[in-house]
């Protein structure tokens, strides 16, 4: 097939180049989509939650410091969403209900953050939370009123929100597990409820022992 040595050399170069290209382009054949790459990177980097102001469904304003010393299971949603958010919050409710009561509110709080502060006023959030059995205390629904602050949280956690021009948003969906000091420690698949339950419970139990 190859008459000359040059052909062999150039083919070898091409193959090495190709291997390198794919190796770098997929982080060593681990991430073929940007979402996987993003999740891997977040887990590796463990970013700190920015210091910003939240407003909850009762109209109270505070920052993430309020929850220092507690784990936080976060989701990012908007209430007008009719597709994935209700599913996500249903799954959240399942996790919330499955955890032993002693942990709820003491060692962990649930936090659903709206990225649509314009429409998701405290009144709307207060109604929305009742659909999923959130009590507004140990599972809070909040918005981030300041646009820049909202963007900083989304950027830090790699949440990409694209308005579709008809009042809806396309966004990536996951559970974000934040530790007692406000560092993101894990990103969980929202559709794998059992896996997420196990991961949260394991974390809380370890904390109880330690």
């Amino acid at each position: 097939m190859f008459k000359s040595r040059h052909q062999m050399i150039s083919l070898a170069i091409v193959l090495v180049f190709g291997f390198t290209l794919f190796y770098i382009g997929t982080d060593g054949f681990t991430a073929f989509t940007e979402e996987t790459a993003r999740t891997n990177k977040l887990i590796e980097e463990q970013p700190l939650l920015p210091d910003i102001t939240l407003e909850d469904s009762k109209g109270r304003e505070y920052s993430f410091d309020e929850f220092e010393g507690k784990y936080m299971l976060m989701t990012f949603i908007y209430t007008a969403c009719s597709t994935v958010c209700p599913q996500l919050e249903m799954n959240t409710a399942e996790i919330y209900e499955s955890l032993p009561e002693k942990y709820i509110g003491e060692d962990i709080v649930f936090m659903s953050v709206s990225f649509d502060p314009e429409r998701d006023t405290p009144e709307i959030l207060d109604r929305y939370r009742t659909y999923f059995g959130s009590d507004g205390e140990t599972w809070r629904m909040v918005r981030i009123p300041d646009e820049q602050e909202l963007q900083s949280v989304l950027d830090e956690f790699g949440v990409i929100v694209i308005p579709d021009g008809e009042g809806d948003f396309q966004h990536n969906v996951a559970y974000y597990l934040v530790d007692k000091d406000g560092y993101l420690v894990d990103v969980l698949d929202f559709s794998d409820v059992e896996g997420a339950k196990a991961r949260v419970l394991e974390t809380l139990e370890q904390e109880g022992e330690g």
Partner: protein, 185 residues
């Protein structure tokens, strides 16, 4: 020479910022127009490069096989959903797109094509169309958002685009088997 100028004009045109912005704002145009057009720009520039560096092409790509393998590798890289996403967020990937499509895909395809045997050419048609059918299946039926920067509805549209192109290539391929091209040349 004229071809090379057309190629260069097309290449420069595709690099104008508003054109870049427009062609990347819609997923199908990004994948099925911008990228292939960059490849075509490279193909137009190939004869000029061949004339400029005749020994390079002759020496290193004598039978066309290293070239066509290079074509496949880079081409498959750009089929990764992640590659397209990253052009939008990482500058070096965007730069790589503008270099690799014309010079690694376009040039190596055209330079190799003339040197390849019919069996190889047939293999190229089949591999590209099978890959496109696979991508069509993936993009149409994937329940997940594959590219973070594009809507799922765009993703499905892109899938149908892949399907259409795959059928066109297959159709062309099949007719090459039955119709003697030399009669029309």
């Amino acid at each position: 020479m004229k071809q090379a100028i057309y190629g260069l004009i097309l290449y420069v045109f595709l690099m104008i910022p508003p054109v870049v912005h427009l062609s990347e704002s819609i997923m199908s145009i990004h994948m099925h127009m911008q990228m292939p057009l960059l490849g075509i720009a490279g193909m137009f520039m190939t004869p000029f490069l061949q004339k400029k560096f005749p020994s390079f092409f002759k020496k290193w790509n004598e039978n066309g096989i290293p070239g066509i393998i290079l074509f496949f590798i880079v081409f498959f890289y750009w089929l990764l959903p992640r590659a397209m996403d990253e052009t939008l967020i990482l500058t070096h990937v965007e730069v790589f797109k503008f270099i690799s499509w014309p010079f690694l895909i376009g040039v190596s395809l055209r330079d190799s094509w003339a040197k390849l045997s019919n069996a190889w050419k047939n293999a190229v048609y089949i591999i590209v169309s099978v890959a496109y059918l696979g991508m069509a299946w993936l993009y149409i039926f994937s329940p997940d958002q594959l590219c973070n920067n594009y809507l799922i509805v765009e993703q499905r549209t892109l899938g149908w685009g892949f399907l259409l192109i795959a059928f066109c290539i297959l159709l062309y391929f099949v007719q090459t088997l039955f119709i003697d091209q030399s009669q029309y040349e």
